[in-house]
């Protein structure tokens, strides 16, 4: 029987790792994700998890050790956030290029400067081009489930790419919520034993990994990473379907909420989806035709799902906790690209919100709604990007 209990997302991530039975874990403490390796080291210390836990001296070495272990042929796990993830950046490309199905938990946190330990998605969004699959959790249960799903997808022969699961700093990492811990046997059946067919370091079958590729070969290696990510779309859907069958919880790349008759639909990720759905309920009572959508998978970008969503809305607004300085928020940019060849498109707006842990309030969502309604009324967008919740008196 699954155990129903309460825990923080960090603990849920550690539990997910325990259930997946990785053989090597390497991690370095960083706020807000420190509790993940703490909890895992407890599991290892108590003999509840039979793994080597490498207490590395940096996040760069954490991911490097995990790459080494994964290349040697075992299931691996690590966790980090923010500056730690930025420090890993170089090796993230390598993990994907070497086709290693590493899974990593991210306590989504802002990037310096100014130094700030609170939530936004800039850390993992900034890794979007590395070749890692990216999931974002709305709550602690999702944090646990998506880590199991990340292994399922990453290790699929058609994919063989690393995957990260993001959950919001403090809002989830440090907040206790009800979580159902699945049965070990069911997880074992779902994930199976990890048996590498391509990545191993076995004296009986010596192979060379991590070679130099000249221009004659480099581009094909990169193409295959891109192609594997494309193939991951289908694999993710299959994994979601199997997960629902085994565990009874349904996941979708984009989960819609009250969108069927909506004129204005707001899209977001992570814990903000919870706030947004609550707010939509309130606005519906007030008579507004608004809907919400939660993006659970950010890489591969859910192109088809965004197109389907766009067909329903007159205005599509993105509320995102990241900014690509010099243009717009990354999710908005990507969604725009997904819709670029559509003959009919909704008006599109980007709302930058909640950076560095600023609370995203109903008031701020009301501001976004006003801007969306104005665009709807005029039938055009004057300015696509709006920072909501800015303290103008400080500027």
């Amino acid at each position: 029987m699954p155990i129903r209990t309460v825990m923080k997302a960090n603990e849920a991530a550690a539990w997910a790792a325990k259930l997946a039975k990785p053989k090597v874990i390497a991690a370095f403490p960083i706020t807000p994700s420190t509790l993940v390796p703490e909890k895992i080291s407890e599991f290892v210390a108590n003999g509840e998890l039979d793994a080597e836990f490498i207490k590395v001296e940096s996040e760069h070495s954490a991911i490097s050790a995990v790459v080494g272990a994964s290349a040697a042929g075992v299931r691996t796990f690590t966790a980090t956030a923010s500056q730690g993830l930025a420090l890993m950046h170089e090796v993230l490309f390598i993990a994907a290029g070497m086709r290693l199905p590493i899974v990593m938990a991210i306590g989504n946190r802002s990037l310096s400067a100014p130094i700030n330990i609170w939530n936004d998605w800039q850390d993992s969004i900034s890794q979007r081009d590395t070749g890692w699959i990216q999931f974002y959790a709305e709550n602690n249960q999702e944090a646990l489930d998506l880590i199991l799903l990340a292994y399922k997808v990453a290790e699929d022969e058609r994919v063989l790419l690393p995957a990260m699961v993001g959950f919001d700093a403090f809002i989830l990492t440090h907040t206790v919520e009800p979580v159902e811990i699945p049965d070990q046997e069911v997880v074992d059946e779902f994930l199976g034993e990890y048996e590498p067919k391509h990545a191993y370091l076995d004296p009986k079958r010596p192979i060379t990994q991590g070679t130099l590729a000249f221009p004659a070969h480099y581009m094909e290696a990169k193409y295959l990473v891109w192609d594997a990510m494309e193939k991951a779309r289908k694999v993710i859907d299959e994994a979601f379907a199997e997960f629902e069958k085994r565990f009874g919880r349904k996941y979708q790349k984009i989960e819609e909420y009250k969108t069927d008759d909506a004129e204005i639909i707001f899209v977001t990720m992570g814990s903000l989806a919870g706030t947004l759905k609550d707010w939509v309920d309130k606005k519906r009572e007030e008579g507004y035709k608004v809907g919400a959508a939660k993006m659970t998978v950010y890489r591969p970008f859910p192109v088809e799902e965004i197109r389907a969503l766009a067909k329903k809305a007159k205005v599509l607004g993105f509320i995102e906790k990241d900014i690509s300085i010099g243009l717009y928020g990354a999710v908005f940019i990507d969604a725009s690209a997904a819709l670029v060849n559509e003959s009919e498109r909704p008006l599109m707006l980007d709302f930058i919100a909640g950076l560095g842990g600023r609370d995203v309030t109903f008031g701020q969502l009301d501001d976004a709604l006003r801007i969306a309604e104005e665009a709807l009324e005029k039938g055009e967008v004057e300015k696509p990007i709006h920072w909501i919740g800015l303290r103008k008196e400080l500027l």
Partner: protein
């Protein structure tokens, strides 16, 4: 009767790699992998019971150019600064997989003394069952001869050019073997292609200890040092004989019981209580410098050679040895 060869004829670093003609580091890796294999055979009964994790650098780019490989042993390259971390991961995985054997991490002086120093320290401190071999050709040769912290005083490199305001490299060489020993690891040593028997012995010793070991191997680089292709081993031997390259072993960080190998070349070694305390070198360091284009300019700057001599003496003092370094006229 056929005499047994002094070292196994098995090759792990196969012919066909793309190293420069006369590459001293290629000699180091060829010998080191053979020695490692012998140690594995003696310790685990399996000569193939090892894997290599290697840093980006000369010996990496010349040995694994897709779709070819020079490696007849499981081998992984991840990046420049993380060979020790990657090796830690491989070692941990082998523990869980129940594969008996040892991991050999390899990095150049840039990948070890500079950008990889942190990962190295972490790996040593955590006690992984890994031998780290630093092939020290005393500059960033793969990127085209830039100074590293392991470049000796006075040497020309493309980023330490001699000029009106420069004598060349202006800092003393950093000795990573001593830093490694400070981690109180079971075994830290220096070696050189100039003394292949000593190199083989030390690699075997390092491979057989339980826990981390470190060896800093002096390797000539004709391309970067501006030396004749055929003189690599001879020049490396001169480094030992003139006092420029000390050969030592430190077990468990016990610097007070450092073992110093006699340099040869007519040097007189004095011991007290079994410990080397004084070496009177016969050959002046100029004997070593004169073959090398990277030191050519020093011969017009005798004060720089004097400074180098003083630094070498200071280095020997750290090892507990009074070094008497002759001048050419003496």
């Amino acid at each position: 009767a056929v005499r047994k060869p002094p070292i196994t004829t098995r090759e792990y670093w196969a012919p066909g790699h793309a190293a420069c003609a006369g590459c001293g580091c290629a000699i180091a890796l060829k010998l080191a992998t053979k020695a490692f294999s012998e140690a594995m055979e003696e310790k685990y009964g399996d000569p193939n019971a090892f894997a290599i994790a290697q840093a980006t650098g000369c010996m990496e780019v010349v040995s694994a150019v897709f779709p070819y490989t020079a490696w007849k042993v499981p081998w992984i390259h991840v990046a420049f600064e993380n060979a020790a971390a990657a090796a830690s991961g491989v070692e941990a995985a082998w523990k869980k997989l129940g594969i008996k054997g040892k991991i050999l991490a390899i990095g150049g002086d840039g990948g070890t003394a500079d950008i990889g120093l942190q990962a190295l320290s972490g790996m040593l401190e955590r006690g992984h069952n890994v031998v780290y071999l630093m092939y020290d050709n005393e500059a960033y040769m793969n990127t085209g001869i830039q100074r590293s912290s392991s470049t000796p005083y006075g040497a020309w490199t493309t980023t330490s050019p001699p000029g009106k305001y420069s004598i060349g490299e202006d800092r003393p060489k950093k000795w990573v073997a001593l830093i490694a020993a400070a981690h109180q690891i079971p075994y830290a040593a220096t070696a050189s292609i100039g003394n292949p028997f000593d190199l083989v012995k030390k690699v075997k010793k390092a491979a057989k200890v339980d826990g981390p070991a470190f060896i800093q191997v002096h390797c000539t680089c004709p391309t970067g040092w501006r030396t004749p292709l055929e003189k690599g081993v001879e020049i490396a031997r001169l480094a030992i004989e003139t006092g420029m390259w000390p050969l030592f072993e430190i077990e468990n960080g016990d610097i007070w019981n450092i073992k110093i190998q006699p340099p040869g070349g007519g040097a007189k070694v004095y011991k007290e209580g079994g410990r080397v305390v004084r070496i009177e070198f016969k050959k002046p360091i100029e004997e070593y410098l004169k073959y090398q284009g990277r030191f050519k300019h020093l011969f017009k700057r005798p004060e720089a050679i004097e400074e180098l001599r003083n630094q070498i003496k200071a280095m020997w003092k750290v090892l507990g040895v009074e070094a008497i370094l002759p001048r050419p006229e003496e």
